[in-house]
């Protein structure tokens, strides 16, 4: 106690004498971020809402308030509904696919005596590699005449396909690419979750006579992983609703709108046809869906997460 230097006592005195100065300093330090927040986020969100009620087109002299006409046009537009359905279908394939494979990979790696890091690095590689570059690789793999997939199928005497140009196939091919690209990311999250499960739980289960394997997974691992699973499902859903790169580069929404998805519609309307008002309305719906996924899934899964 005798060693308490005046240095250590000083802060209290300073706090007493200068209680207000961090107030203004706080504003100064947060100001750039706050300003950019208004210019790049809050402002734009307000503008999107506003523009969606106008007929604005980039380059037009003026704009007129048209109420909900854009939304009515969207409601009546076959392409918009196709786009919405496709995005949902894509998501319903990619989310279970990438979450399932991610969990399987994490579980398989978790019990491994050696080689853990190598497998992890391999599965994570597609997450790192520029998706556009890899999409072009997939395009050539799926080339109808000279691609790996068809050459392989032909070698086995099986039926070949024009994978990206058949209406019934293209979306599912894109989904496979999405799963290929995304499951390694989910694997890492699940791996972290598995490491967080206390070893004692497994020991206790063993003592209680819970057999190893499926039963132990169902009774211990799965409930303990529930929060991670919720997180992974939400993140994967949101990501799959934003699918764009592969669509833009491989199919342009075709054939015959079979791979038209929400962000591609938004892109085409806003930045190819420059119908800013209509694109804003599409954006509002897109954003509403993304926020809804977060909300509903969190609520719904939250209720099932409690295991105590």
């Amino acid at each position: 106690m005798a060693e308490l230097s005046p240095r250590l006592l000083l802060p209290m005195q300073r706090r007493a004498t200068l209680p207000r100065w961090p107030l203004r300093v706080g504003h100064a330090l947060a100001a750039p971020a706050a300003l950019l927040m208004v210019v790049l986020l809050i402002g734009p969100l307000a503008v999107v809402l506003g523009l969606s009620l106008t007929d604005y087109q980039l380059g037009a002299d003026g704009l007129a308030f048209i109420g909900l006409d854009n939304y009515q046009a969207m409601w009546a537009d076959r392409v918009f509904w196709k786009s919405l359905t496709n995005t949902a279908l894509y998501s319903m394939a990619v989310v279970p696919g990438s979450v399932g494979l991610g969990l399987a990979a994490a579980l398989l790696i978790h019990g491994l005596a050696r080689g853990q890091a190598t497998y992890r690095a391999i599965f994570f590689l597609p997450v790192m590699a520029t998706l556009i570059a890899m999409a072009l690789v997939w395009e050539f793999m799926l080339h109808p005449n000279f691609g790996l997939v068809n050459l392989g199928l032909r070698g086995l005497g099986l039926q070949t396909h024009n994978w990206l140009n058949e209406e019934g196939l293209a979306l599912w091919v894109l989904a496979v690419i999405g799963i290929w690209q995304g499951f390694g990311f989910n694997m890492v999250l699940f791996s972290a979750g598995l490491l967080g499960i206390p070893r004692q739980l497994y020991e206790a289960a063993a003592i209680d006579g819970v057999p190893a394997g499926w039963t132990r997974f169902r009774l211990v691992t799965w409930p303990m992983l529930a929060p991670v699973t919720l997180f992974v499902v939400v993140v994967s859903s949101i990501k799959s609703f934003q699918v764009f790169d592969t669509v833009q580069v491989l199919t342009k929404g075709g054939p015959n709108k079979a791979t038209e998805v929400l962000v591609y519609t938004l892109y085409a309307e806003g930045f190819e046809f420059f119908r800013s008002g209509y694109a804003s309305a599409v954006t509002v719906i897109f954003l509403a869906i993304v926020l809804l996924i977060t909300l509903v899934k969190t609520r719904w899964l939250d209720r099932r997460v409690h295991y105590t």
């Binding site: 802060p11 961090p22 107030l23 300093v25 706080g26 504003h27 330090l29 947060a30 750039p32 971020a33 950019l36 790049l40 986020l41 809050i42 734009p44 503008v47 999107v48 523009l51 980039l58 398989l108 019990g111 491994l112 890091a117 992890r120 690095a121 391999i122 599965f123 994570f124 590689l125 597609p126 997450v127 790192m128 590699a129 520029t130 998706l131 556009i132 570059a133 890899m134 072009l136 690789v137 050539f140 080339h143 000279f146 790996l148 050459l151 290929w180 390694g184 990311f185 999250l189 949101i238 934003q242 962000v263 938004l266 892109y267 806003g270 930045f271 804003s280 954006t283 993304v290 926020l291």
Partner: protein
């Protein structure tokens, strides 16, 4: 004898795991292998209707030469570097002081700002694309480095992550620095930044990977060939060749993914940590 028995007993399940994982690894690596194989084949072999992995004549260098001659690959890489580095530096310059203020200082509007940061975490980039594009158009900034960089200077995720980290820094450390005569800004750079190093590198990896690989935004704002970013450039190369020279295209794709993949293989753990943060965005 007993350990031996245990060893043979555990061998079978281990082997089964490896079998399943190898199958999954083959699926994962297939496109990379096909890319390398195609990039190494001369044109006659690329357009062969017999499946073969190893080229009879090794043509990787020829294909690389063609790619560098027909696409401005060095320019793409340089642009990628300029854009990702500028974005990261500016994001830090904005986020560090704000994160410090949100974590350690008292000011009116702090709760509001924090709420906006959390709201921002939920908003995908596509949601603000139309108005930000119109803003750049109005300012005459489309088709410039500014258009590629400026919209990303605020990373709400960066602010959030650093703020969480700064929360754990003891107040005594900050008070001591104040007594030593450091200004609040000085505290941010000389005290908070060094302690937050793990968060700063993780965020850096996250930011650089996200913007190096981003396609949506550059596609919207860039027209000039000298401003193309790596993904945009390789897509453009594909369009101009219209599927006639896959050997060179695969070589170009290889070059574009190499910087990040190489960095990843050198520092796997850090990269996995950094990228996994994207999940929180």
């Amino acid at each position: 004898m007993k350990p031996m028995r245990a060893w043979t007993l555990s061998l079978a399940p281990q082997l089964a795991r490896h079998l399943a994982l190898v199958a999954l690894a083959l699926f994962t690596l297939l496109p990379f292998a096909w890319m390398l194989s195609t990039a190494s084949k001369p044109e006659t072999e690329v357009y062969s209707d017999v499946l073969h992995w190893l080229p009879a004549k090794f043509a990787l260098l020829d294909n690389l030469r063609t790619a560098f001659a027909k696409a401005p690959i060095l320019r793409l890489l340089l642009n990628g570097l300029i854009v990702t580095a500028s974005i990261y530096v500016l994001q830090l310059l904005v986020a560090l002081p704000a994160a410090y203020a949100l974590a350690k200082l008292d000011f009116r509007g702090r709760e509001t700002l924090m709420a906006l940061v959390l709201l921002g975490l939920l908003v995908p980039q596509h949601a603000v694309a139309v108005p930000v594009f119109l803003l750049l158009h109005t300012l005459g900034l489309l088709d410039s480095y500014a258009a590629l960089i400026a919209p990303w200077t605020l990373s709400v995720f960066g602010v959030f992550l650093l703020r969480q980290f700064f929360k754990t820094v003891p107040n005594d450390l900050i008070d001591a620095a104040r007594i030593d005569g450091l200004s609040e800004l000085g505290i941010v750079w000389r005290v908070m930044l060094p302690t937050a190093w793990p968060a700063v590198t993780a965020f850096g990896i996250f930011s650089v990977v996200a913007h190096w690989n981003d396609y949506f935004w550059p596609l919207i704002v860039i027209n000039s060939p000298e401003l193309l970013t790596p993904p945009l450039g390789v897509a453009q190369f594909r369009n101009q060749e219209a599927g006639t020279n896959y050997g060179a295209l695969m070589a170009a794709a290889l070059v574009v993914i190499t910087p990040l993949v190489a960095a990843f293989l050198l520092a796997q753990r850090r990269f996995i940590e950094g990228i996994t943060l994207t999940g929180m965005k």
